[in-house]
Amino acid sequence: MRPPISFNAQAERAIGVLAGILAEETNMDHIHYQEQASQFIDMELEDQDATSLFSHLSVCPECREFLKESLQLRSRMAHSVVSTLPQGVASLEWATIANNKSRKLSHISLNSSAQRKTAGPLPAIVFLLFMFVVGGLLFSTRIEIQRPQEYVGSTNSNVSQVGNLSR
């Protein structure tokens, strides 16, 4: 059987638990209100939330401190704006980038779309023209060569026919 716990011990334990819960809730409250303070300095806090925030700030030095530090941070960050660009960027003009770009684009176009567009039809047309010219030349030569043969052949056949007739 457990020894009976005195009233004082029970009360102390209960107070400890309550204090822990209260501290946790207070901490959660601080985070909640500090998040609201962050929104407030960004002008993103709703009006009704601003009212409760300022009620809390009036009694909470910790959250007031956060608000003050956040405003100081903003001020310091504003002073740390990169006011001078590095020489490479400051002197670089759009025309230079555009020229590089057009060079790259011409390179790209040769390898891709423009090349695809010209790669098929243009050489094919040239080849067809070439074949047409060569074919035309060959055809005309062949006619010229074949005509005497045909003539000879026909003459021979005529001769043979004459010979047959004469026999």
């Binding site: 962050s38 956060f66 960050m77 490479g88 025309a95």
Partner: protein
């Protein structure tokens, strides 16, 4: 960030005046470079990302639906460029991969213990140590003055996620900055 000037110039570019794009380049090259540099923490990579961003913007400006949203659209391209570089760097094992843990400091980045007296250097050093997803939202908010909705659209996150990340980044930075500005 909607400016009528941008709209006019974008229309000129679309109409075939490629020189007009130079105006947009001169106007935004500083912002885009700073954005790329803060995320990449490397001058050479940031310069490459800057050039690629504008080249791609010029090539695809006809796809921009709303000419008044040029800046926002430009930053989307810049972000893609930055993440392409970061992915390459990560695949080379130089940067720890992004994870969903609550730890928001990128421990992979070496923290210089050397005493820095210049505020700019301190801020840049600490920003560089934040994980990319936290650094990015804070940069877009503090330097580019984008709204939470715009940041969410740009990063593909929810607005509540953006709120939370900005808060965590701010909280972490203020904590780290305390010793320097006591």
């Amino acid at each position: 960030m909607q400016t009528s000037t941008d709209e006019i110039v974008v229309r000129q570019v679309r109409a075939g005046d490629s020189n007009a794009f130079g105006e947009l380049y001169e106007k935004y090259k500083g912002n885009v470079y700073a954005y790329c540099y803060r995320l990449l923490q490397n001058q050479s990579s940031a310069e490459d990302a800057l050039q690629n961003t504008f080249m791609k913007a010029f090539q695809s400006i006809s796809t921009l639906d709303d000419a008044t949203a040029f800046k926002y659209w430009l930053f989307m391209i810049a972000r893609n460029e930055v993440y392409t570089v970061l992915r390459k760097v990560r695949s080379n094992g130089q940067v720890k991969s992004l994870d969903d843990s609550d730890d928001i400091w990128d421990e992979q980045t070496p923290f210089s213990k050397a005493v820095q007296t210049d505020t700019v250097d301190i801020i840049q050093e600490l920003l560089g140590q934040l994980k990319t997803e936290y650094r990015e939202v804070l940069i877009l908010r503090e330097y580019e003055q984008l709204t939470y909705v715009e940041i969410a659209a740009l990063t593909g996150d929810t607005v509540s996620s953006v709120k939370s990340r900005i808060f965590k980044a701010r909280k972490a930075l203020t904590k780290k900055l305390k010793p320097y500005f006591k």
